[in-house]
């Protein structure tokens, strides 16, 4: 694990054609600093795995606007109508997953599980083309794991080893994505000494974490503000 002074340096490893996981549920728990730097990078053909794809012209929405997104995998793109429009124009692929499947598939990707059977989506349009199997008289759908080259996530605090804790509902997809990407880049609100986070309360042990930066953008009641 290594600390970086800026999002630019931490994101230098990102390349065109890669798959990037992006934490957060809307703005809550989103790696706001890293996202805003990601959209500035000269990369394209990205596959983005994230619950949402930002809003029109904001956050990940900018990446879409710049036509850098080849494919989006997530559960709820309705909040950004550009996504549907780009899909209609054939500019991007969309893989829509139930939110529980999105979360579970990311966990599976980090846990060495190639696929798993869930009842969710059985018999619906989202299960079309997917294998099914009967367990104890009930039908289940086979869902495959998701993995990424890079995950950008947000945590509340990191210690100097890279152990992470999260804050309230800003936890959401972040700890899962920390397990499922080759390079895990985290922005945090605070860095503390190793030993300051209680050993029973660490949500993401440091073995998952590669790069840490201090967040420059923070979500407040008044919206996203810069600090530091």
């Amino acid at each position: 694990m290594k600390f970086y002074n800026s999002a630019e340096e931490a994101l230098e490893c990102v390349q065109s054609g890669q798959t990037i996981m992006v934490g957060g549920f809307g703005l809550v728990g989103g790696p706001l600093t890293l996202i805003d730097t990601l959209v500035e990078l000269d990369v394209n053909d990205l596959t983005i795995i994230s619950n949402n794809l930002g809003e029109q012209g904001q956050g990940l929405g900018k990446l879409l606007e710049q036509k850098k997104v080849k494919k989006a995998i997530g559960s709820y793109f309705t909040g950004n109508r550009d996504v549907g429009d780009a899909f209609q124009r054939g500019e991007i692929d969309i893989e829509l997953l139930p939110q529980g499947t999105l979360a579970e598939s990311i966990r599976a990707g980090g846990a060495g599980i190639a696929g798993y059977y869930t009842k969710t989506s059985f018999g619906t349009d989202l299960a079309k083309g997917k294998e099914t199997k009967m367990f104890k008289d009930e039908e289940y759908v086979l869902e495959e794991a998701l993995q990424a080259d890079v995950a950008i996530i947000r945590a509340y605090k990191a210690d100097t080893l890279g152990n992470l804790v999260y804050y309230k509902t800003a936890r959401n997809f972040n700890p899962l994505m920390a397990t499922a990407a080759k390079t895990v880049i985290v922005e945090v609100d605070e860095i503390v000494e190793a030993g300051e986070l209680k050993s029973d309360e660490i949500a993401t042990p440091h073995l998952f974490v590669d790069r840490v930066i201090l967040a420059k953008k923070v979500l407040t009641k008044e919206g996203v503000v810069e600090h530091g």
Binding site: F25, G79, L96, Q99, A103, F122, R171
Partner: protein, 211 residues
């Protein structure tokens, strides 16, 4: 956002809840149900990773505590937070007692459609499919008819279904139906509604089980 019709439906839905239950509220009318429950006796779960949701005063808002609709909420005493996989494990593993969901359509097999409209971009599903397979009891809340006066309670859903699972109870501005032994049963008229209005506005076949 709330209007008296929606509030009446939400209030009636809240009456279905029993002490000690774990309840997940969908977006729209279901969110309003939170206003009518006693947070010491009913525990609200939100799929973005929280058990123990309650209302919050404007001055106490923490932007990092939100519900599935991304609205600011409060933290009840004894609330807990968890990641999205753990949250959906609760839902899909059968640990949520009741889900209250909005619908676009519901049919006489009590199957619902609430995530996609043909011809429009199918680009959002969220947790709806998960809640339908996992929650022990599913209650749906909806206006009985769409804005152009068409019944939302159909013989067969015209939009893509959200699950093959039948919901247990349908609460509209006109009536309450339970789904029992393969049939919709009209069990209650909402205040001000009469049987004829319900019959006129319901395409689905139902059994009149009014007492």
């Amino acid at each position: 956002m709330a209007n008296p019709i929606q509030e009446a439906i939400a209030k009636r839905a809240a009456q279905e809840l029993e002490q000690g239950q774990i309840v997940n509220l969908g977006i729209g009318i279901p969110t309003l149900v939170a206003n009518y429950v006693d947070h010491n006796h009913v525990y609200l779960h939100t799929e973005n990773g929280m058990l123990g949701v309650e209302d919050v005063l404007e001055e106490d808002i923490d932007p990092n505590i939100v519900n599935a609709g991304k609205f600011a909420v409060g933290e009840a005493v004894g609330a807990s937070y968890f990641d999205s996989a753990a949250s959906f494990a609760m839902i899909r593993g059968g640990h949520v007692d009741v889900a209250i969901l909005g619908v676009l359509q519901v049919d006489e097999h009590a199957r619902i459609a609430n995530w996609a409209v043909p011809g429009k971009n199918i680009i959002g599903v969220g947790g709806a499919m998960d809640l339908l397979v996992g929650a022990r009891k599913v209650i749906v809340t909806t206006t009985h008819t769409s804005k152009d006066g068409k019944s939302k309670i159909l013989k067969e859903c015209k939009y893509p279904i959200t699950s093959t699972r039948s919901v247990n109870t349908i609460i509209t501005d006109l009536a309450v139906f339970n789904y029992i032994d393969g049939q919709l049963h009209l069990v209650e008229l909402m205040p001000g509604a009469d049987l004829e209005t319900v019959e006129t506005n319901t395409e689905a076949t139902f059994v009149n089980s009014l007492k």
